[in-house]
Symmetry: C3
Subunit: 342 residues, 3 copies
């Protein structure tokens, strides 16, 4: 697809400064811009590149005053970052979405199929599955019996969803993720062997959730593991049985949440964080990457760090002294010697 600067300016309610007929077909970064691409300037640090970029069109703030000559056509907008995001969204919607039921897929005859769905080759859809309208299921995906999937949801290739789980509307699940595998529950017997505790619950994923690639969300032992609406989970996250994650909480990659932990709303959790079993975390909590959360956080808006974690400012103070521990020890030795001398 090609668009002229003029067409884009109309879309974004912007103002063209330069050739309105120049055509672009792709988006570039300003420092790597090539002819035929559109880019944007939103961060002052990159201002220097506007004079050298080869991008044909640059989105720029209305208040921008150039210091030198600029070759690119400019489109002046209120907020270049929002404008480019808006443009990307439009671009993305224009991309050919796959559709229809591909020939070599397996769909049990009991499946309830919504309108306008896509089921890719080698996808397997078990008994009594319900698929909402406009939902895309890519090749090689496994959907177990009795799974319920909402509308406008995208399930990328090789995702595995075990029986009885529920996926909401407008969700995205990236390749290879596993939803509904057994929780890690065993009871020791008298021979120190571990006997499996049957895991008969399920996983409920509400609307507008995005799940990265190779994430695992275990089914509940009893009841449900619940991912509330708007949650975003990055790649390689591990969510154990009976966990609940509150609305609009965002979790970076490789974080693990142990059984029955309950995470609040609007939390921001860094990568490689570990959260212990049964812990409760209040709304709006922020947790630094690699932290270990061993106790409940009951106060909202807490910011914590460390393993085990405590207040982030205090952690930073302690860590400065940790780095200087050899000096602290020497200062102590000096005082001790001094004392002995007397």
């Amino acid at each position: 697809m090609k668009f002229s600067a003029c067409q884009i300016a109309n879309l974004l309610k912007g103002e063209v400064d330069g050739n309105p007929d120049v055509m672009v077909s792709r988006v570039s970064k300003i420092e790597e811009g090539e002819s035929g691409t559109i880019t944007f300037l939103a961060n002052e640090k990159f201002t220097k590149y506007i004079y050298t970029t080869k991008a044909s069109v640059v989105l720029i703030n209305r208040s921008f005053v150039p210091e030198k000559n600029i070759k690119s056509t400019l489109i002046k907008v209120d907020d270049p970052y929002k404008s480019i995001a808006h443009l990307l969204e439009i671009y993305n919607k224009c991309i050919d979405k796959p559709s229809g039921i591909e020939k070599n897929s397996y769909i049990d005859k009991s499946v309830k199929k919504g309108k306008n769905i896509y089921v890719g080759t080698f996808a397997y859809i078990g008994k009594n599955v319900v698929i909402g309208d406009n939902t895309l299921i890519f090749p090689g995906t496994f959907i177990g019996n009795n799974v319920n999937i909402g509308s406008n949801t995208i399930i990328y290739p090789s995702v595995n969803i075990y029986e009885d789980c529920t996926i909401g509307n407008n969700c995205i699940i990236h390749a290879g993720s596993v939803i509904g595998s057994d929780g890690f529950g065993f009871a020791p017997n008298e021979n120190k062997e571990f006997v499996k505790i049957a895991q008969i619950g399920n996983v409920i994923i509400e609307d507008n959730v995005e799940i990265g690639a190779l994430v695992t969300i275990d089914r509940a032992t009893m009841g449900s593991t619940i991912i509330r609406k708007g949650v975003k989970l990055d790649n390689h996250n591990h969510v154990a049985h009976n966990v609940e994650i509150g609305e609009n909480t965002v979790i970076a990659a490789q974080t693990g949440i142990a059984g029955t932990a309950k995470i609040g709303k609007n939390c921001m959790i860094g990568g490689q964080v570990g959260i212990s079993p049964h812990v409760k975390i209040a709304d709006n909590t922020k947790i630094a990457s690699q932290s270990g959360i061993t106790k409940s956080i009951l106060k909202k808006n807490t910011i914590i760090m460390g393993s085990p974690a405590f207040d982030m400012k205090d952690f930073h103070k302690s860590y400065i002294h940790f780095k200087a521990l050899d000096k602290i020890n020497k200062r102590l030795e000096k005082l001790e010697k001094n004392r002995t001398k007397k």
Copy 2:
């Protein structure tokens, strides 16, 4: 499936107190119990819920004496927790297991098939594979040439088992796990490039092992990577080439074990632990989550924590002072000033 309180009491050798004809079809948690479900009371903290739960049936200790009126039918047993686990097990066994060879699977003609096996659609079974009796292989699974799988084993969807590996009896491998991928072995050449060292060993998984979702177990460079009987590995574990994990050891999620490490029997290893190459860990060792094990642990029954790890009690002592390091520094400054004044 529906059961009456009376039927369940007979199964569990329990005693009914209430309506013996009430029917239940699912299991619930006591605090979330609904009509038509059975629940249990095993933990005193939850005692208050027995007076409000809507569960139709509650398993309870024979010694329990109610303080108020209870609506649910009670079944009195010796150990409600064991009883519910037993019930879950029975329930689980009654669930319809898939069976037979589904049409669109690929099974090489050299494969030796046990009795009563299941091979799902889009599963691929290579040359000379042996599959024991009653083993279930779910859709989309890849079993490489010469793999040997025991009896009563469950291989969930999209599991990949490379050639020459061996899986025991009564094992469970959850979705997306990879068994037998190449060990991470390279030798630098004169140009600082890394040249691959061929990985010609295999993986041996003994009986009664459960492996979570998205686990990797690399094949040995030479010889075997060995997972001994009764081991339980949680999701996202990484087991490198030539590792050996001893009987009945349990490892929580996202832990990584580097090449040639040897883990003892009956160890309990937390999540996100890292274990260095060639390290040996004695039987009955306990390792706290997020620890880093850089040296062998030769003494049995050790409990360690930290990165690098040391005795857990000592770690906790040190960590209390770490949190107070700013105060320690100020105390030191005070002494220093004091000394200078004199």
Copy 3:
């Protein structure tokens, strides 16, 4: 395949000491050697085993002088370790490689197929994909539209490569890895919901790259996530959008690299390391396992450790004192008491 000691000696330009006609078909470790196997002695610690091993043939240094009688046939070479690696490589090349297009695969008619390729059963190859000569694509793999794959590359089962990505020559990608999933990019709106930022870039993997099992490499928001030639990534690595990893850098398992980080050439990065967004890491940097890199490392040849990381030697010094913090506190208390007494 069976080889005589004499044939192997010829291959390795070595000298036979013992029966030149003894036949071997497998490789073993010296301490586990069995009849019919070849092994090697490269590490002095294992010298004792040469007198007891049941291996039929042992590769040994030309300078080795036995202290007792040895049953095995010896082949004397300049460097036994290199010789065995060379032998493994030859062995590996002799193994039957799969070939041809298996019947139940899906290959779009627009795909450009190189000579002598393998496409396994249940593999899915989308529109306009290009596959170079001698490339192997195992069963159950998903290759999205417009993906370009070089020659002599191996894509193991269940790998998922999203549209528009590029894979070089002589690459290996192990089972279940995901290349080109969306970067983790969201912008908060006024309701504290996170709105997806479309991810329209791709992933470029250059030549001679090996990627372990269950690795994720996210596509760039715009532009490309780039893995330079010769890079080796171990299992469960996470590489976020717009990251660049320099030539011949090696990264151990379960490490995560956040968005737009730029890693230099010839770096060695341990397992479970976390690298923050936008960080730059100089060439030849070494990072200890479980470290957290929150700031750029501008000086080449730096060796760092800790979370947050600093100079490794300094970390070790500090950590020794950390372990002794309880004693340090007691020494401080003693000085304080002493002072009060006066």
